[in-house]
Symmetry: C2
Subunit: 305 residues, 2 copies
């Protein structure tokens, strides 16, 4: 993108006007890089809110009409709804229409796109923005959600170069730093840094709730609990789909976690103060200096597998 | 405490001038309820900083001189140092001197006080303020650390009524809401809502660090990781002592957690979408509406055991 080739999306379609999709629309509008935004959400109330907030300029009555004549489509529904959505829109996409998504898993998205879109899969470049807020929903959408956040893009061998360039430019205009990886590496890394912590937080809350006096626990919990469990309030539909679609990588990470937990418990059983201290020290030495976005990797070969 | 009996500590001794102890001094000074603060820390640098910041008015050269003539002593070192500290100060306490601590475990503190202080144990009322910050150290101490936070006080059958009243009044002046419990109930509740989450966060970071490409993991981790692992940067000395002293209650909570994790993994293995969704939903329904300090319990019999 240079000054001589301004990047403007004439007609953008957002399928799933929530926090993520809505914030893409607002960020592109902020940059003056989109002429017209059409949105579709299952719920009429969400469509109304998105219109009232100026997130979208037009609410479509159905998915097929939403994408008609669009030159870019953002798929922002839970991953479980993707196959059906693509089946519906495939016959209605104009030949040059470029697609991307915002899903938390990428191998499955790549496979679904190839299966449902056929030759048009060349123009679907999967992506995963590493951004979020405690509360979901279009009412929380904001233009700066992606500012200085990473977006992982997983371009595929069959992707058209122009589609890759357009999706990358779109995210950069939203304020994000784009990192490219293979879908497989993406899914392994995010099983470790996102899916596992969510799973642990969900399990922790369920484990407390299973106990008779859990009300007392929740009443007396402090700021450490608050931060540790923030992600335990996340969307069940979305996370069911993430767990189903990235099962194997997640199971590998559960095993890694269990190994660490077992060695901790062994030190506890042995009343081994030195081992307990070393265990906490290693965690502290890694986590205390860690900062969000401290390192911006930009190469595809970050991980080997 | 009424207007006719103003609560003023003539001489307050802080043993361990860190975030917690330093903030007590600043909070009492803010309220104008302390005339003179003497502080002791092992490190000369910490003593200097505490003096420079006005946290303490006088740095003592040793623990024994710090407590001489004090009418209240705050013990704010890791719990592992408590027995030795009490042995040293016991002969130097004036007869009416009241003591409390800020430790995260209470059964062990109660036992140590009884053993080391003999009859003076009547004036040691253990307490545990539920407050903290990402960074420890006296340089982060502040007068409002305890504002609207809970402080759990675990008065013992042998405690003098005046000592209980004075410690409670002291924390209220610091801005806190005081909740009383037995040491045993305290330790069980905090094994669940504090010790276990720390243990899980430490294990999680160790489990990541055990893997060959952990650098990539840490580089790509996002805001969810940041919040979930904030407590993984905590102090190794303090946490070694907590884990050693509250071992049995913590092991019970590890078992509860493992049961929940196992049932989650069984749903994952069975590709049981409904069960996965239900599991996340239960977590979301509890955690999403949860608020820090939403409930202020004030009775001793909150938990039965």
């Amino acid at each position: 993108m240079t000054a001589s080739t301004p990047f403007t999306i004439r007609r953008l379609a957002i399928i799933g006007c929530g926090l993520m999709g809505g914030s893409v629309a607002l960020a592109l509008k902020r940059a003056g890089c989109v002429d017209h935004v059409v949105g579709y959400s299952r719920s009429a109330e969400t469509r109304e809110t998105a219109l009232d907030m100026g997130v979208i300029d037009e609410a479509a009555a159905g998915i097929a009409t939403a994408v008609r004549d669009a030159d870019m489509v953002i798929l922002a529904t839970p991953v479980g709804a993707l196959a059906t959505t693509l089946q519906i829109i495939a016959p209605h996409l104009s030949v040059d229409c470029i697609l991307t998504d915002v899903g938390s898993t990428k191998s499955d998205v790549a496979a679904i796109a190839k299966q449902e879109l056929g030759r048009h899969a060349a123009r679907f470049v999967p992506s995963h923005p590493i951004a979020g807020k405690e509360h979901a929903g279009v009412m929380h959408a904001e233009a700066d959600l992606y500012d200085e956040r990473k977006v992982i893009m997983t371009p595929l061998p069959h992707n058209a170069l122009g589609a890759i360039g357009a999706v990358q430019a779109m995210w950069q205009i939203c304020g994000a730093d784009v990192v490219t990886m293979t879908p497989q590496n993406h899914d392994r890394v995010f099983a470790a840094v996102s899916h596992l912590p969510h799973l642990l937080a969900f399990s922790y809350i369920n484990g407390l709730a299973n106990q008779a006096d859990s009300d007392t626990f929740f009443a007396l919990a402090g700021p450490g609990f608050r931060d540790f469990t923030r992600i335990a309030g996340a969307n069940p539909d979305m996370w069911r789909d993430v767990f189903k679609s990235n099962r194997d990588a997640i199971k590998e990470q559960i095993d890694q976690f269990r190994t660490a937990l077992d060695s901790f418990e062994a030190a506890l059983d042995a009343r081994d103060g030195a081992a307990l201290e070393q265990f906490v020290e290693r965690s502290r030495d890694i986590r205390a200096p860690w900062r969000l976005n401290a390192v911006i990797p930009t190469r595809d070969d970050l991980t080997q597998q």
